[in-house]
Amino acid sequence: MTSGGFLQQLQTGLWKDNPGLVQLLGLCPLLAVTTTLVNGFGLGIATLLVLAMSNALVSATRRWIKPEIRIPIYVLIIASLVTCIELIFKAWFPMLDRSLGIFIPLIVTNCAIVARAEVFASRNTIGVSIADGIGMGAGFAMLLMAIGAFREFVGQASILSRLDLITGGEPFNGFSFADSGLLLAILPPGAFFSLALAVVLKNYMDQRRRNSRGAFASRGLRRPHQ
């Protein structure tokens, strides 16, 4: 594995094949918790950690895993990791854990994670798999944070509210710009609108880049060896 492969894998997850924006995976937590930037950050980090570690474990055990039992094994690995992460959150970030509630245990059901185990980690070496997990996890986390920040900004007219969930200390209501925002952004439909806007923005940027680079750029991505 070359360092180029590592970086490319990161980039693929962060932008090109972003699990939320392109593969549209893991939408349930994405839509549910992104009412603030802080919530988005919390779930994003938790997902990133699970994804990186599950990719590492699946890749490490791939020689012994028979195709017939691969799904139960993925479920075992992912569920254990999520339980560990949940316990760690409860111990060190209790307020953040309360704020995210059921969505930390529900990371188990995030299909982005089992998809990476199946599609990538079971066929690649540990190093690249971890890179893939970090890239995909970071891509997911960035999207959660972006949508969280956007919804918070539009809906509550504030930014970084409840930062104290991460840092501890006194309740902090963020930097506020106005008394109230457009409520719709915080309610469930706002989540769909925000995600749609994010997908539009990404496609628009990709298209502009393609147009400006001309026909050479559209060679397609180098696939992981199969």
Partner: protein, 211 residues
């Protein structure tokens, strides 16, 4: 596949299950003390605001009294009362009750009542009210809950425990009427209960913690 490979596959599965379980067990051992401490701190912290200005003996969470419904307090889930003593004398009671008629489900409230009957503080523990409207009942979002501090049954009289728009004495919240109405009603009913059962509350034996 053959019998041998079935056994082999099963053993692989068992091995991985064992590894995963030990991973979880190790994390649990590592975190359980911190988690227990956090939960206790969180409980005391959530009760603290309802105790402002009261001098009291420590160990509030040990004086817990759990009342199973029907108990005459607001809500139809178990109500919790923490008795607070100062040098052995009743100082205050903290009620954890539920306002059932919120806009989006039950609202869990902690309400501190001094032995004399006046409110020491009200806080919202759990709610699912609309962000930006009904959630202004939370102390972090607006000053609304502070208006009950120092009030009691008699100040105002029973009928005065309502929103100004309903002919009562308490401020409304812009854009929300069902939520504050539910909270005020729960406070009012708790105060009525306290006035009627004051002695019994402080004399009852503490409910053992269920493990």
């Amino acid at each position: 596949m053959s019998d041998r490979s079935i056994v082999k596959t099963g053993m692989t599965l068992g091995m991985i299950a064992a590894v995963c379980t030990s991973l979880v067990a190790a994390t649990y051992q590592l975190t359980k003390d911190r988690i227990a401490a956090n939960e206790k701190a969180l409980l005391e912290q959530s009760l603290q605001p309802a105790l402002t200005g009261i001098f009291y003996d420590s160990g509030v969470s040990e004086s817990r009294l759990v009342l199973q419904p029907p108990h005459g307090l607001p809500g139809n889930d178990p109500a919790i009362i923490y008795r607070v003593f100062a040098e052995g004398e009743p100082a205050a009671a903290l009620f954890v009750v539920t306002a059932r008629d919120g806009f989006a489900g039950p609202i869990r409230i902690v309400l501190g009542v001094e032995a004399s009957g006046s409110v020491t503080g009200v806080r919202i523990l759990q709610h699912r009210e609309t962000p930006g409207l009904g959630d202004k009942i939370v102390s972090a979002r607006s000053d609304w809950v502070y208006q009950f501090d120092g009030r009691s049954m008699g100040d105002p009289q029973l009928l005065g425990w309502a929103l100004k728009g309903d002919g009562g004495e308490f401020d409304q919240l812009t854009g929300a009427s069902i939520t504050p109405r539910a909270v005020i009603k729960a406070i009012r009913d708790t105060l009525v209960y306290f006035d009627a059962n004051r002695d019994a509350i402080f004399q009852a034996a503490a409910t053992e913690a269920e493990e």
